[in-house]
Symmetry: C2
Subunit: 150 residues, 2 copies
């Protein structure tokens, strides 16, 4: 069992909540993902393990996990949230290809620092931030160039 699953279980116990089979299945699947996923993805995977799991329970467990900081929710502007494991991973931002939808992660310390500077200057205390760059990935650029050369 991964350390984030153990944190989840400990949290459940601490708060006097109950460790149900549904929560166990859903949390395990969510916390061990490598890539971004949607609530609907998670519902489908969960139902492979237990047909009866409801959409509501998936959303309720996603809330628990994000409140706990074990998952992070991401809004890429396509009308639904994505999620990714947050535990033990470093903060990063995202660059999204408008053609193929691929999402690449990056981290830039200078940008992070400059954000703090800006916030300081404006008298804000920073809680978190969201930075997305939208554009065309290498593969899609090359594909487009080829088409243009026809």
């Amino acid at each position: 069992m991964s350390s984030s699953q153990e944190k989840f279980n400990a949290f459940i116990r601490e708060k006097g909540l109950r460790l149900t089979s549904q929560r166990t299945v859903i949390a395990r699947l969510a916390l061990n993902r490598e890539t971004h996923f949607t609530a609907d993805d998670l519902l489908a995977w969960s139902r492979e393990k237990d047909k009866g799991i409801s959409r509501a329970t998936v959303y309720r467990t996603l809330s628990l996990l994000t409140d706990l900081g074990l998952l992070e929710s991401l809004d890429f502007g396509d009308g639904r949230l994505c999620y990714e494991p947050a535990e033990g991973r470093n903060h990063h931002d995202h660059i999204v290809c408008l053609h193929c939808g691929s999402i690449t992660e990056f981290h830039c310390n200078e940008i992070e620092e400059l954000q703090c500077d800006v916030a300081d200057r404006l008298g804000f205390r920073v809680d978190h931030h969201s930075l997305r760059i939208y554009g065309t990935c290498k593969d899609c650029s090359e594909r487009t160039e080829c088409n243009e050369q026809r």
Copy 2:
């Protein structure tokens, strides 16, 4: 009439579209705003001028205006889009107070350049980006401190 309204009218003519009274009302109200607004705000203002204006027409005109680049749409993650006039304004990003909801605009050239650097390094061509900082504004910080001192 503002220059962005004239651009809108010219565009309508060019494309063989029709300059209806509804489009005129909605575009004037949208393009002369100083602050961020929602589709629903715009519907309410439009109906003050012409009771019959429909939700659908407001959304349709918002699409025209954003496609034209006269408006920009902004997603602050609260489940609906905001809009702001884009014509003749410089690009800027936003810092949002999680307590009072106030939105402050800022611009940081170094951040903009670093974003390009990052994209270059990853082989992306940049189309646009979205940077939001979320935190606590000066006023809300001071209010909280006072409460704590009680």
